[in-house]
Amino acid sequence: MTQYETVIGLEFHAELKTKTKIFCSCPTDFSAEPNTHVCPVCLGLPGVLPVLNKRAVELAIKAGLALNCQISHLSKFDRKNYFYPDLPKGYQVTQFPLPICTNGYLIIKDDAGNDKRIRINRIHLEEDAGKLVHSGTTIATSAYSLPDYNRAAVPLIEIVTEPDLSSAEEAKNFAEMLKLTLQYAAVSDVKMEQGSLRCDVNISLRPQGQKELGVKTEIKNLNSFRSILRAVAYEQTRQTEALDNGERIIQETLTWDDDNGTAFSMRSKEDAHDYHYFPEPDLVPTIVEQDWIDEVAKELPELPQKRKYRLVDQYGLSDYDASTIVNNPVLALFFDRVLYHYDDPKTVANWLLGEISRLVKSSEEEIEMISLKPDDVAYLLTQVKEGAINNNSAKAVLEEMFQTGKEPDAIIKEKGFAQISDTSALQDAVKAVISANPQPVADYRQGKKQALGFLLGQIMKATGGQANPQAVREILINALDNE
């Protein structure tokens, strides 16, 4: 039987995190009542003109830099023409021949766990369409559909890869790495479930060793990493079976049905749209000087790949721990902030991935929602290190901090967790234990050093566990040796 090689390219749409829309000053936030964040410009009323939002350009540049792209000094907008009720002007303003970013890449893990470079063809800026709420399931079968133009003209970037991916797992890895990178760059909310990150997959098969590409299909409506994984696997199987049966693959666009785990055809190439692209005459070319790019580059934080190298190579964390921290930008930022005040990466990682993660998990909160402050955690760890509080008490304090948001110092005092390091108080306790236990004292003095452990235990017991063990040990040995 023929062995096939799978060729996959991905297209992503990410909504940019601007305060206002791309061509007008309407707000972009999600939650408003339908058709309240609209104006004559984003409703496409006659005679209005677009004015480009500079921040949208900046975020597109930032995304381009994060994805290792070349930033175009000159880019242009075009009109993509088609009729649909969610498209107020009857065309979408997008970028066709001259996009803002080109020739980027991201490094992901291939199926063998090795690094693989996936090329990015282009990133272009465009406006989103509105949203239709159908009374039925589709526009054709509904009695009516209600348009909501709040989302119309929200800025988007479209990111298009080269067909460099060769498995479902790789496609998912790329999508995850892309999401993470955009998250670090803070250009988009990248929430697939909410539609602020959307993914389309192009997939074709060719016999192993063949040079030219097979006929591809495009799968739309992938709302999670899992659906990317499933849709690619589904289409791989479908195309393999078709080719094995001697059938021809038809170039078409499919919609993924996540509930049933199948894809159905939306349209074939024959009735594919002719979008009649042409330059948008209402906007002037977008000129981006190097100075501007340099300014934007300064906004860019350390990106996931580099960050992971720092955690493994510089701090000696395990690959697994480093990945766990880096894969969650909020956790990674928390880590860095604690580390800023408490310079012991391994201890910080242990607390973060152990106790703090346990608390977050049991609270069922998202980590970004918790009220724990990194410098409070650093303070607590410092107290442990300096012997002012023991490890078990520290865990209890942390939990209290987590629940109430109180400062660690207050909790330690309130609960009496502070270790007794006061020498005179400890000397009294030592004296009492020595006089109450003549036999072990005699044993110790005769050279049975294990009697020391028993005496130490008695002192800790007498002080309710709050004595600083280090200090007790010193005072006890001193007392036994000198009397």
Binding site: G47, V48, L49, L52, R79, P281
Partner: protein, 499 residues
């Protein structure tokens, strides 16, 4: 002091009315009433207006008189009654574009150019007739009624801004605004014997102008003479933050240019504009004008703009391509006409079929075809190349020391209503002298030179980018005294035209 006669008031230009207002021999309300009275009397014959905003006009006139009484006048245009082509969006006032598809459209915003005038005290008399969506050269493509030429009511006023031209010529407004995509201000100005200016692309904001072809559209001015025109340009020109294509350049007092001497200026006559199809009498007038300029001390030079013959066909590809997208928004979903059908695509189709007139449909189809994959390179892309070549022609001529060019404004004087409606190509030819200037983005000024029989004959001046001042200087030197049409009611009676 007794008030001047109504017909005297409406014959005044801006400066004369401004002077009378200042001297308090007339109030803005009186002037506005005079105009409203005249509109009421003869516009049922001329059809220059689609909407007359009587109440607003009188209220604005009263407000102007109050300002004047308080000594807070907003400049020479304060209290002066004027009108807008029905393509300018006017907040709270019907804006139809002479189309059934927008027959009920009331915009919630003002065009920037109108807003600038309103803030200078302009009194709006109404919205003028036009070819539907500015597509036409005779005003016969209005979905409501054709406007008539005041000099001969059996002839067209030109188009697409025919109503604005007729209103200015027939004293139904002191001045009017139109738009010019391929000659839509200059050709009707020539036909109606008034001054018509299309400024440089980017000189006046396009915000709030219902677009036909965005890379060619520009707001234009109709006035009774060049100095009035200069006065209005100074009031509406300038950068608009809501129009990315408007240019951030200083706006001079253009009226000063009217007082300048043409001595020492070099005027080019492009030979490509004197070819086939141009009336002999128009060429004779142009030669006469050139001779007059020489007498005034200007130098006349023959020049060549070799790509001129390609301009008209390139224009009809470029303009229709842009129009096909600009008019896509009229789908019956959000505003305007809606013919309800069983599903959304049938609704869109029925709405557009019923809402657009034949010429609009013709141009949408032409433009859609030119942008189709497979034809794009042969048509649209080729057109962009031609456009660059045309621009280069003009750049070279102006770089060679030419101050401005003198050409015919149109191949003929005004033609008869119905004469060209069956032959779109013949109709398109009437814009052959004006279209290249839009393709090159340059300023063009048409002024009346003399009467040819009963009909006005206009000439055109073309300037370098943002060279409007030189056009005013030369235009002021060459324009004839104001041409007056014969009495409209007498014409109507004689020709059996029923109001």
């Amino acid at each position: 002091m007794s008030s001047p006669e109504t017909t005297t008031i409406t014959s005044w230009n801006i400066r004369q009315l401004a002077q009378a207002l200042q001297d308090q021999t007339v109030t803005s309300v009186q002037a506005t009433e005079a105009y409203l009275g005249r509109i009421n009397q003869i516009d049922s014959i001329l059809h220059a207006y689609i909407t007359v905003t009587q109440e607003k006009a009188l209220a604005d006139a009263q407000a102007s008189d109050n300002r004047r009484a308080a000594g807070k006048i907003l400049g020479p245009l304060d209290g002066v009654p004027m009108a807008l082509k029905d393509i300018f969006c006017t907040k709270g006032i019907l804006t139809t574009c002479a189309s059934k598809i927008l027959a009920n459209f009331v915009p919630p915003y003002d065009a920037t150019s109108w807003q600038m005038l309103e803030r200078k005290g302009a009194v709006l008399l109404g919205k003028c007739n036009m070819d539907e969506f500015a597509m036409g050269s005779s005003n016969e493509n209005s979905a409501f009624f054709a406007a008539r030429n005041p000099f001969d009511i059996e002839r067209v006023p030109g188009g697409s801004s025919g109503g604005s031209a007729a209103a200015c010529a027939a004293d139904l407004a002191v001045y009017t605004l139109g738009t010019d995509t391929g000659g839509s201000v200059r050709q009707p100005a020539a036909y109606c014997g008034v001054v018509g200016l299309k400024p440089t692309y980017g000189r006046i904001s396009r915000f709030g102008i219902v677009p036909y072809a965005s890379s060619l559209d520009q707001v234009g001015i109709f006035a009774k003479d060049t100095e009035d025109c200069a006065l209005v340009l100074s009031a509406v020109a300038g950068k608009d933050e809501y129009d990315s294509t408007s240019m951030p350049l200083d706006v001079p007092d253009y009226t000063k240019a009217c007082q300048k001497d043409v001595r020492g200026m070099t005027i080019g006559i492009p030979k490509e504009f004197l070819g086939q199809g141009i009336d002999r009498e128009i060429i004779a007038a142009l030669e006469d004008g050139a001779a007059k300029l020489e007498q005034l001390g200007a130098v006349i030079k023959e020049v060549s703009l070799p790509h001129t013959p390609y301009a008209l066909s390139a224009y009809y590809i470029l303009a229709t391509a842009e129009a096909s997208a600009n008019l896509a928004r009229y789908d019956g979903v959000r505003y305007g006409l809606r013919i309800e059908k069983d599903n959304v695509s049938d609704t869109m189709e029925a709405t557009r079929s019923a809402g657009f007139g034949d010429e609009v449909k013709r141009r949408i189809m032409l433009g859609t075809y030119a942008l189709s994959s497979g034809y794009y390179d042969a048509y649209y892309n080729k057109t962009l190349q031609v456009r660059t070549l045309i621009k280069d022609d003009y750049d070279q001529v102006f770089a060679g020391g030419i101050d401005c060019l003198l050409t015919p404004a149109a191949p003929t004087t005004a033609f008869k209503i119905g004469e060209k409606t069956g032959d779109p190509l013949a109709m398109y030819m009437s814009d052959v002298c004006t279209v290249p200037i839009n393709m090159a983005g340059l300023p063009g000024l048409v002024f009346p030179y003399r009467l040819s029989g009963d009909l006005p004959l206009g000439l055109q001046l073309i300037g370098a980018p943002f060279g409007e001042e030189k056009l005013f200087t030369v235009g002021h030197a060459l324009e004839c005294p104001r041409l007056l049409p014969r009495d409209i009611i007498t014409q109507a009676k004689k020709k059996g035209v029923v109001a």
